[in-house]
């Protein structure tokens, strides 16, 4: 491992040429496969986009056509101005997701650290208890939680909803953080102690930077889970102005007897993908750099 990372660039590029540049044919073949796979992955998005700029009439056509005959932004307009306006829903969703990320990190990082680095009585049992919510369908938890939250005055508040999303996300996050802390060599901790670090200081200065990629992963999953969550948001929120994006997306596309407004559906899909894609691209950079900036250089 040390050898590979420490190898000069020249050797690395020689390896590279051995893989892709042995002859042009292999290169083309690899590129062709890559392009094919990328096209396959992109196809639903492209089709979604093409449908979203059709007129509502054309977007509903059965059998559907691939390309729009005339361009129209009517579907986007419909999604933008539905109910309380897209801005309200996006603001709520981002607020709840941000809180869920913060709560998840605040709970999962210390929990993972404790479970990984300290000998606690009945540690494995405690860990299983922490993972238990994963094993129960969360829909079953929502009604009792709602009654409890209503009594506590947390129902119909973004803060309360963020707590629910955190409850749903914490088991997986603890699992992830524990693994990340366990993967750090004991020698590093010992070196920190020898240098005079207290547990807290070594946690902050040695461990945290090392588990940074795992924290980014936790944040990413918390964001995506919270952003997409529909049922809890619907049950816990009672006002149009406090609804999140998924509820609006369901309401905007569903008409009488479950009939679907296909154009609005596609426009909604594209609008709701954007923040997820952006945050993924943004965090991925740190995810990778955190990984390479690892300990044992």
């Amino acid at each position: 491992m040390t050898n590979v990372i420490g190898t000069p660039t020249r050797k690395f590029s020689a390896d590279e040429s051995r893989i892709a540049g042995r002859n042009n044919l292999t290169g083309y073949l690899v590129s062709a496969i890559a392009v094919f796979v990328a096209a396959l992955m992109l196809a639903p998005l492209v089709l979604s986009f093409l449908s979203s700029v059709k007129t509502p009439e054309q977007a509903s056509a059965t059998p559907p056509s691939y390309f729009p005959t005339s361009l129209s932004l009517e579907n986007y307009d419909h999604v933008l101005h539905f109910g309380a306006g897209l801005g309200t829903y996006v603001g709520n969703s981002l607020g709840v997701a941000a809180l869920a990320i913060i709560f998840s990190l605040l709970l999962a990082v210390p929990a993972g650290f404790g479970l990984a680095r300290f000998s606690i009585p009945f540690k494995e049992f405690l860990f299983v208890v922490l993972l238990m919510p994963l094993m129960i369908p969360y829909q079953a938890l929502l009604t009792p939680l709602y009654f409890m939250f209503a009594k506590l005055g947390l129902a119909n508040s973004l803060f309360g909803l963020a707590i629910v999303h955190t409850i749903l996300q914490v088991p997986f996050s603890v699992y992830l953080m524990r693994n990340a802390f366990e993967a750090i060599p004991r020698e590093l901790e010992e070196a920190a102690v020898i240098d005079g670090c207290s547990t807290f200081v070594s946690f902050r200065r040695v461990f945290l930077p090392l588990v940074f990629p795992a924290m980014v992963t936790v944040a990413l999953f918390a964001f995506i889970a919270s952003w997409n969550e529909f049922l809890a948001a619907l049950i816990f929120m009672n006002k149009e102005t406090s609804f999140t994006v998924p509820i609006m997306l369901v309401s905007v596309r569903i008409g009488h007897f479950g009939s679907v407004d296909w154009g609005a559906l596609q426009a909604g899909i594209l609008i709701s993908i954007l923040p997820c894609a952006l945050i993924y691209i943004f965090l991925q950079k740190y995810y990778v750099s955190g990984l390479l900036g690892g300990a044992v250089k």
């Binding site: 509903s60 059998p63 109910g83 981002l94 149009e240 309401s251 569903i254 479950g258």
Partner: protein, 417 residues
Amino acid sequence: MKLSIRSSAFALALTTSTILGYSAASAADLSMWVRASGAGAAQHLVDLWNTGHADKKIAVTVIPDNQMVTKLATGSQAGDVPDLVSFDLIYMPDFMKAGFLTDLTADLKGDANYASVAEAYKNIATYEGKIYGAGFTPDVSILVWNKDLFKKAGLDPEKGPTTLAEIHADATKIRALGGDTYGYYFSGSCPGCNIFVTSPMMVAAGAKILPAKADDTPLDGDGVKAVLTEMQAMWKEGLVPASAQADNGANFVAAFMSGNVGIEGSGGFLISLLKEKAPNLNFGVTILPGIKEGQQSAFVGGDVVAIPKGSKQADVAKEFIHWELTDEAQLEGLAKNNIIPSRPALADNKYFKAEPRVVVTAKALGVGYVPWVFHFNDMVNSDSSPWIQMLQTAIFDGDVDGAITKARESMKSIVAQ
């Protein structure tokens, strides 16, 4: 660690601002939950109310259709309810029985406008002699036909089918145009769509569909078999697109809107929707027929408005219900937007003169029925209900008699619960 500090700060700022923004929302407004498919119509009425009642404004919250029952039930149990609620009238008996709604008998009995509301709405909102709600945004099922396709197939584009056999004959001619053009359409996996558009044809032919009491016979009368047989024949002859079998309602509107379906059962809501979204579609509207000439029926749908128990501003909410039944609300809020008023006497108004197709829906309201039953969800609306299983077994598998017998038994056992 630059990222975590910066992004955390960003996230915190964002969250705080959102939460602050949320708590700043006005608390004095009345809250009203509306199911999504009735939201457009409800908004017209609420907007009109809000312009005249600046100090008692209503804020509408749109709830997805199939979540309304869950939401209202959990909200009622937790004591967290809106001031007004507008939902599918068919759930009225269950909600009245559960005791979720405020008794409005004393308020509405003396209201002359309430007295002239369509019988179907008064009936569905009355339980043990007490009134719990009023018609709000009415809808009714109708039959629509594509005039352009009728013309192409050599049929009279101005004359819609008046019997089920005529639907079959016209559909055959339209299918003969070939390609992607089909004669008839129905959503084969959508229980709600079919109780709305298929059951009235059975009722028109004299059948009784749902049992109100344990000793009633469900699916009673020859109309049930006659309609299922005719539909099975149309399916077998390929007059209906194959995709109809799996359609859970998603294409209930889209199929006709795309212009290649000749005839379909639909709802009054379709008129304004098509005028807005498919202005070039040339279509006619008629009342759903039965087996013989002159037989007609419709399913009265749409929303009722009620006040949940625990409403914090019940007095203003009652004032709103009185107001929504006045001529002003019925004409300027509903009729002006091509929606039928809940008071049939108002169907003859200046707005409908410009759109005769809406007048047909108003007439349909007069001949329509609405079943006053408990457990409507179990008998009809759920995905595995006896109602939808009967349609699927009869139409797609061809076993009409077996399907009816089986559905009759399951409905009996549900109503006996």
